[in-house]
Structure formats: structure tokens, C-alpha cells
Symmetry: none
Subunit: 221 residues, 2 copies
DNA sequence: TTGCTTTCTTAAGGCTTTCTTAAAAAGTTA
DNA sequence: TAACTTTTTAAGAAAGCCTTAAGAAAGCAA
């Protein structure tokens, strides 16, 4: 899960970034509204965590700008502004959730999972596909009830594709999901991970759309 | 907006129902888990507001049951259970938002709007032509529901013609669409691709306008 | 820290599909 | 029929993808 964290406080920001990373998020952490805007446009995030008190502009304006520019990424506002009116304003400007500082980390994680689940049209908290089961809360995977261990990138790739089971992903889009922008991966990582997943989960788990990219396939042989 | 309110407390229930109605929701108010289940199955709601302390069963079980039964309606839990652990449990069982009583009515309304907004973002348009379906977002094509795979140039050619179904294209115009300017293709590529498309999609998919070029035809034989 | 294990990244060679070309066959027009 | 256009076929070239393997990096345990 690729997350844009917008938070100017260095300590708090580091804390959240660490917590997210620990939950195997891929985190891009920026400290100003302008950076937030440019990152949100440059790459496709699964969720944006937005502080409102930023040094250069108000977080609400960042949000509004994003929505104006048709960036539909779910946004969770995380702020010290705690009045009812402020919450209503935030939500009505286009946020999907609103949490007040000080906040509880597990609750933040659970709310992010809920946003993600809704976004990917998942019905239940446990994601299934054929005989596969994924529990995003535990980062675990099983096939026919047997647990299978995946490396972090294998897991990310699979989860991302399972969240949009009919979509075709270009290699570039997948690289964008798997890596931070300052990490230039110049070679065939995606092919290699696809190969690993096929080895572990069966040949047909991922289909190749030649000249275009990859698409989730079936779990049967 | 059609809302299912599940709340056994008469006073509080009435208050919420009134507030919702005032915001021009169409409210169905039930007081037990069993009623909640049967209503949620019988009709398509835009959102469900769920109390957890119900007389006949726990709200969490209602929620789990709904998700098991493939009811995707967004659920907002509204309860007195306020610990972090309880929130995490609620969200991870499949809720989309979680509010603690006593709560603020405007905030509830704003959260409902946020859920609704997210829900109503629709998916990509699909182009149809006769019995063909093209999903440009996924670069996929099917005929009578059967997926058909095209090579990149075949796909480009077809999509270009389908976007202008009545226009007649000269060979030169099509070459120009398929290739960069610095790519001098000196031979009969277009003819070859037309031939491929006819083979895959039926003779009449492309008509020959003799001496001029090609035009989209019909998908029937 | 050190050493051990797992995971990541890169590159190269082989394999498969698609592209391009050319030439023969078929069709159309005058 | 002659002249011309379009279709079909086939084969070598090019591009795209898969697989393997090895060194680098990261994570973990003592």
C-alpha cells in the first residue's frame, strides 16, 4: 500500500512514517502543501494522510486543489483541529475520514484499511480470490488454507492486483506502486516478481497482456 | 439517499431518524439485528448506520453476516464502545466508519456524505459496437462476452476506427495513426492488420471502400 | 558487532509473439 | 481481357517476455 504522508512536524511525521512502514506501507513523506500537491499528481497513491497545519498553505486548500484536479485518492485528515465544525468542513471539502490528534496508531491503521477496502470494492475484511485468502490486517496469505509466505514486494504486487482484479497494469504503473520516487529501478524487477508469484501461486495467477502489462488471472491450474 | 438506521434506543433513534429526514434522507429505522439483516437484504440502501448494542444480537455479528452475504453497502458504526481496540475490531470486521456516542449530528451527516461521495464514483466507460465491447481503460476486448486478444497494432487500428464509426480512412491516414513520423513504413501493413482483424472479428468488421480506404463495418456475419 | 539468512536488483541468454516485408493469388473495373 | 487494386500467405527480423543466477543489500539472531 502506497501512502502519501503530509505532516510538517518532524518527530510526529517520523513516528507515523515508521508505524506505516512497519505495517508494510510504502511511505512518501512530505512536509509542505506544495510538495503534497506535486507528489499526489506525479504518482498514484492508495491513500493520503493529511495534516492541516502546514507551513506554506492550509491543508484544506491542498485537499480542495486535489479534488479540483480530479485526484480522487482517499484522504484521511489527521489534525489537532477538533471542533465539530472543523470536522464537517474537512469532510465536506472532500476528505474521506477525519482523525483528531492525539490519535491512536492502531485505529489509524484500521481506518486506512477500511478506506482501502472500500476503494477496491472488497466486500469483506478478508480478501479472497479463488482459493487464495489475504488478511491485510495481518499481512498474511494462504492458499487452500495453507499459509504461504511472500516477500514484501511479492505481497505488495499481489495485493495491488487483487484490489483491482480486472484492470491491466503496465510495468511502469507497477513500478510506481512498488517504489518511492527517488528509487530509480531501471530494470526488470516487475518481471522477476511476477515470476516468483507464479512459482508460488501457480502459473495462471497473473496473465501477461503482451505489449501492455499484466492482469490478475485465476488460481486454478 | 436511502438510509438504514439500526438503533434500539427509542429516543436516540427517533432523534437520528429526524435529523436524517431533515437532511432529506429516506430513512428505514429498525431496532433489532434480525430486522436489520432482513431489511438490508430486501432493499438496496446507500448507507447503514449501525448501533452495536442491540437487544437480540451483537451489531458486529450483524455486520459480519452482511459482509458474508455480499452486502457491500457502506456501514457506519455508531456506538458507546469507545476504546481503541473496539474501534479497530469494528473497522476490521468491515465497517467503513466508526463514531462514538455521544456524537455530534453535523459530523455524522458529514461522514455520511463522505461515504456517499466515495461510493458514487463510477467506473470507466465501456465502448460497444454491435456485439463487441472494448474497455479502453483495460485495453481489453470481447465479442459476445468472449474475450479476444489482439496485438497492439490490431487494437490501435480497431479503436481508432471505432471512435469514428462512419469515417472512411485512407491507408495513409491509418499508417499515420499507427506509427511515429520517423518510422517509415513503406509497405502494406495496414492491409495485413485489416486482414487480421477480419479473421478475428468477422469479415464485415471492416469494409473496403475501393480506391479510397477502409471504414468500420458491422459485427454480424 | 559479527555472521547468517532472506530478499532485492541487475543482467544475460533463450524463447515466443508480433511486425514488416514481399510476392503470389484473388478480385474488380473499364 | 488487360490493368489495376486488394487479399492472403509466409518468412525473416524485431520486439517483448521469461527464466536463471549471482552479487548487493537488508534483516535478524547471537
Amino acid at each position: 500500500m502506497k501512502t502519501l504522508l503530509v505532516e510538517d512536524d518532524p518527530l510526529l511525521g517520523q513516528g507515523i512514517a515508521d508505524a506505516l512502514t512497519y505495517q508494510s506501507h510504502l511511505v512518501e513523506w512530505v512536509k509542505t502543501g506544495l510538495h503534497a500537491l506535486s507528489f499526489a499528481h506525479a504518482s498514484q497513491f492508495d491513500v493520503i494522510i493529511l495534516d492541516l497545519g502546514l507551513p506554506d498553505m492550509d491543508g484544506l486548500d491542498v485537499l480542495q486543489q486535489l479534488r479540483n484536479d480530479n485526484v480522487l485518492t482517499p484522504v484521511l485528515i489527521l489534525t489537532a483541529r477538533s471542533t465539530s465544525g472543523e470536522k464537517v468542513t474537512g469532510l465536506d471539502r472532500g476528505a474521506d475520514d477525519y482523525m483528531v490528534k492525539p490519535f491512536d496508531v492502531p485505529e489509524l491503521m484500521a481506518r486506512l484499511r477500511a478506506l482501502q477496502r472500500r476503494e477496491s470494492q472488497q466486500k469483506s475484511p478478508i480478501i479472497t480470490h479463488g482459493n487464495l485468502e489475504i488478511d491485510p490486517a495481518n499481512l498474511s496469505l494462504s492458499k487452500n488454507g495453507e499459509p504461504i509466505s511472500l516477500s514484501r514486494h511479492e505481497y505488495d504486487l499481489l495485493l495491488h492486483m487483487i484490489n483491482r482484479p480486472t484492470q491491466v497494469f503496465s510495468r511502469e504503473a507497477l513500478v510506481d506502486k512498488l517504489y518511492n520516487w527517488d528509487n530509480d529501478v531501471s530494470s526488470n524487477t516487475v518481471e522477476v516478481y511476477v515470476h516468483h508469484l507464479r512459482k508460488k501461486l501457480g502459473k495462471h495467477i497473473i496473465k501477461t497482456i503482451r505489449g501492455i502489462g499484466y492482469q490478475l488471472g485465476s488460481t486454478s491450474e
